[in-house]
């Protein structure tokens, strides 16, 4: 920038760096900065400039990193190493805030805030952009990660302009560097014999005031500008980002994915070193003794199997699926989710990939012989939560804030399926289609749809498939459990009001749809559907008659002349007089009204087949709604587990219009 303010930059002798460190120390900051360890420049505690890698530089190529003497005495004469600042803002392992179990109160409580105000020494422009991107994830939406928030706002940032690009840098392509423009407290530029110093915040001003500064000379300004220009010229890598979102999602079957999957180890190193990757797992851990269980969060990655695993399915089983998830997320779907690319062009993932896979080369290869790009959904606005809770007001909620619910009643619906009616905290309400996170301390937490409400209790119909669901189904009236919610989108009630509605459910899929049926019937009773006949239809399939849910309610529904109920079973048993066959066979034999709204929930293969039949019958995609299922840990758009292309099933879903899903639905590996 030409106007990199002659006024703002001051000149500081080299010795001033030591003064800066000691001033920050005296102000009570822990100092973390670059230092040499294990053959690389890493970020660790530092005390004086002696700890900095003075006179060292890094040489990098795909899968290779070496330190070399630089031949000068610069303190910041290198680019980026294996560490990024994310490990201090979003630690690799952490006992969760809001998630220490309070035995006496019987619930999860916010654990103490252990934030130690830290000064980051030497943050590059790309890394500042990386921090900005994680802000959007962890404190940019409705839910706020309290630990990240506290750390983020108490930490002090000393940034450094890059005048020399690394062999794997491409910040210029990503528009994130090499010049530090905002988001810092102090910015340094290391010149031959001096530093240029610039304050970027009030905190920064007060520190800068204590440094030995003089006015910067014309030559120093010129050195900054030519240095930045040279740096842009010498980028080791380039990435053509033009229409990259549409390109990647339009080429999901490009042969290059197969090619890279033969090299990729799915080791996860690229995601761990990436300053923006945010995926995490939350696990219940407990000692053998009487210590209360704890919840631990740790970095996860789309290269792990757990990331995409739910009971009975793994959505990204192959290495190809996982690499494609990484690249399409980084460079494409991130844009729809957060309004920015997920890549800042730091080159870490290239250097620290043991087999040297270079994403810039992979993208270039995909551009060769590429098909037409597709259009991607636009991003909603992201606002970063301010420093204090007062400022944040009521627009944000701490993530993982759990309260207590009591089991009011239990109804066995079918073998291994029960409905728990829960008395919820005061003021709780939900919309049909939404879900809650139900938890039992020391056992786990799972997403469960609200299947209806009656007499002030909220129902959850649960199939015992694993440890948590089994433990939930074992609860008796009067017992308590943890609950947070409601989360996610709901069935389109407004659309449903004005047209006939067809509900198609497979197996347990009826649970999230029961609420919507009840609401529609209530509305009709109050006269909204006067004169309409058979405006509501249900097509419900189960494996066999014993597996049918809500049988008594089904009988009541049948008695309603406006409601046409069809039940079919895959395998009949003696005494069954109803339909036999799958929902699909049933559906294909029936007339499919084009004007109806279709609400569909069931196993994904079933939904896929239903959608095909409906589309064949010319039903418009925007009148088909599906409820999706993915692995979930946070339910707030933070843990990354539930991603489905550009969507987080926990917050953009679970209910999504088929018009939004069509470009991806049915493609394997997402």
């Amino acid at each position: 920038m030409v106007d990199s303010g002659t006024q703002v930059h001051k000149s500081m002798p080299r010795s001033g760096l030591e003064t800066l460190l000691s001033v920050l120390s005296q102000e009570g900051y822990r100092l973390v900065g670059p230092t040499i360890s294990e053959g690389a420049i890493v970020f660790d505690d530092i005390a004086t400039t002696k700890d900095l890698p003075i006179g060292w530089t890094d040489r990098q190529s795909p899968g290779r990193y070496r330190l070399e003497k630089s031949g000068d005495d610069r303190a910041f004469g290198f680019v980026v190493g294996p560490h990024s600042w994310k490990q201090f803002l979003f630690p690799a392992k952490e006992t969760l805030h809001q998630a220490t179990y309070d035995e006496s109160a019987g619930m999860w409580r916010q654990s103490d805030d252990h934030t130690v105000a830290t000064a980051f020494i030497g943050v590059r422009a790309c890394d500042l952009a990386g921090i900005g991107i994680q802000d959007r994830v962890f404190i940019g939406g409705k839910y706020v990660d309290q630990g990240y928030h506290n750390r983020r706002h108490s930490h002090f940032i000393v940034a450094v302009n890059c005048l020399q690009a690394g062999d794997l840098c491409f910040c210029d392509s990503m528009g994130t560097g090499p010049e530090v423009k905002s988001g810092f407290d102090i910015c340094l530029t290391e010149l031959d014999s001096t530093f240029l110093v610039q304050a970027g915040s009030e905190r920064g001003d007060s520190i800068v005031a204590q440094l030995p500064l003089a006015a910067a000379s014309q030559d120093e300004h010129k050195a900054l500008l030519t240095g930045l220009a040279q740096c842009r010229q010498s980028m080791g890598r380039q990435l053509d980002t033009e229409n990259i979102e549409g390109l990647l999602f339009g080429n999901l079957e490009h042969p290059q994915w197969e090619d890279v999957s033969e090299r990729c180890l799915a080791c996860g190193n690229c995601t761990m070193v990436c300053p923006t990757c945010f995926c995490y797992s939350v696990d219940e851990v407990a000692d053998l003794g009487d210590d209360p269980p704890q919840r631990e969060r740790s970095w996860d990655s789309c290269f792990s199997q757990q990331h995409s695993k739910i009971n009975g399915a793994t959505f990204q089983p192959a290495i190809k699926d996982r690499y494609r998830q990484w690249l399409t997320h980084k460079l494409a779907s991130w844009q729809s989710q957060f309004g920015t690319s997920g890549c800042v062009g730091c080159g870490r993932c290239i250097a620290w990939c043991p087999v040297g896979i270079d994403l810039t080369e992979e993208v270039a290869a995909i551009r060769v012989g590429a098909e037409e790009p597709v259009s991607m959904p636009a991003c909603e606005t992201v606002t970063i939560a301010p420093a204090t809770e007062q400022d944040a007001g009521e627009s944000t909620t701490p993530i993982f804030a759990t309260t207590e619910a009591t089991v009011a009643g239990v109804v066995t619906e079918a073998p291994k399926v029960a409905t728990l009616a829960l008395t919820m905290p005061v003021g709780y309400d939900y919309q049909p289609g939404q879900f809650n996170m139900l938890s039992l301390p020391g056992i786990g937490e799972v997403p469960i749809s609200v299947s209806g409400d009656s007499d002030g209790a909220f129902e959850h119909t649960i199939h015992s498939v694993g440890n948590v669901s089994e433990a939930l189904n074992g609860l008796e009236p009067g017992s308590t459990l943890g609950v947070r919610g409601p989360y996610g989108s709901s069935w389109p009630m407004a659309l449903a009001r004005s047209r006939p509605v067809t509900v198609i459910a497979g197996g347990l899929g009826l649970a999230p749809l029961r609420g919507v049926i009840r609401r529609l019937l209530e509305q009709a009773e109050s006269g909204s559907r006067n004169g309409d006949t058979e405006w509501l239809r249900l097509i419900y399939g189960a494996r066999h008659p014993e597996a049918l849910l809500f049988t008594r309610e089904l009988e009541q529904w049948r008695k309603n002349p406006a409601f046409r109920v069809a039940v079919t079973v895959d395998q009949s048993t003696s005494g069954w007089t109803g339909n036999v066959g799958t929902v699909i066979t049933f559906l294909s034999r029936k007339r499919i009204p084009v004007e109806s709204l279709y609400l569909v929930c069931g196993p994904e293969v079933m939904m896929l087949a239903v959608v095909r039949v409906l589309l064949d019958a010319q039903v418009p995609p925007e009148h088909i709604y599906l409820s999706m299922e993915r692995n979930m840990k946070c339910a707030a758009g933070h843990c990354g587990r539930c991603q489905y292309g550009p969507y987080f099933i926990c917050k953009d879903g679970p209910v999504l219009g088929y018009d939004k899903l069509s470009f991806l639905f049915g493609k394997r590996g997402f």
């Binding site: 899968g63 190493g81 180890l265 000692d287 996860d300 792990s304 250097a351 043991p354 056992i443 786990g444």
Partner: protein, 267 residues
């Protein structure tokens, strides 16, 4: 499975088949922690060689260490299975045949070991006569396999607590690289060209070796999706000989299908 046990006082059975002493030591090392539980659970421990005078089940949790190497042991694991609600196996021996499975490779080289081994794996009744070493899961259903040579103490305790509390153990099946990066270790492959099995190895050890600037030896055996072929190419590119690559994959868990296949590619 079939057996039911007294929920008031869960019974924990610990069994030892053929193994080295590593896991045994880890188990002994856990005794302090387990004793803490003595008031609430019954711990029944069966060292190797005590059979057939075994105490009867049922067990809420049975832990088996060691591989199946005799016909007697084969009977024994079947019996344990039928008496246990949850059955877990621990250590490389119990989960992959262990380092003693190495002798299968060596002995085979002279008299057509391929057929020999096929026969063994397909027909466990030959196990005794052929004196090979096979994982417990080859003979009976196993609820959880805890990897490691030796196993990691924290993981063992987590496994026991989780099953006693009815929780899924917080034990991940990711690669060693995940743990290596979480602890902030600088990758030995990228900085030093040191060969490392981390990318294809099941996590659990906490990535100890790279923290001491050595490559991972693969003690925990292959992870799911172990891309051994690509890793072997990488080893070759950094100048390792075929013999060295073969040896890297034919170590503690040599008989695990993924590593066995890879080592054979370099014979």
């Amino acid at each position: 499975m079939t057996a039911t046990a007294n929920p008031e006082r869960p019974r924990l059975g610990v069994f030892k088949l053929t193994s080295c002493d590593g896991c045994q030591l880890t188990l002994l090392d856990c005794e302090d922690e387990l004793l803490l539980l003595a008031a609430t659970i019954d711990i029944v421990h069966f060292p190797e060689g005590v059979s057939p005078a075994r105490s009867e089940g049922p067990f809420d949790l049975a832990i088996i260490e060691g591989s199946v190497s005799t016909a007697e042991q084969l009977q024994e694991v079947k019996q344990i299975r039928s008496q246990s609600r949850v059955l877990v196996t621990i250590g490389a021996c119990a989960t992959s045949g262990g380092i003693q499975a190495l002798r299968n490779f060596v002995s085979g080289e002279e008299d057509g070991f391929d057929e020999f081994r096929k026969a063994v794996y397909a027909r466990p009744e030959y196990v005794d006569s052929l004196a090979t070493s096979t994982p417990v899961s080859q003979h009976v259903a196993v609820d959880f396999e805890l990897r490691g040579c030796p196993i990691d103490k924290r993981q063992l305790l987590e496994l026991i607590t989780a099953y006693l509390r009815g929780r899924t153990p917080a034990i991940k099946n990711e690669s060693v690289c995940f743990e290596c990066k979480r602890r902030g270790t600088v990758c030995v492959v990228v900085t030093d060209n040191t060969p490392c099995l981390g990318p294809v190895t099941h996590a659990g050890c906490g990535a100890i070796c790279p923290a001491f600037r050595r490559g991972c030896y693969g003690c925990f055996g292959p992870r799911e999706s172990a891309a051994t072929e690509s890793l072997a190419t990488q080893m070759k590119n950094i100048g390792r000989s075929e013999q060295e690559i073969l040896r890297s994959f034919r170590l503690f868990t040599a008989a695990s299908p993924e590593f066995e296949k890879e080592s054979k590619r370099h014979e």
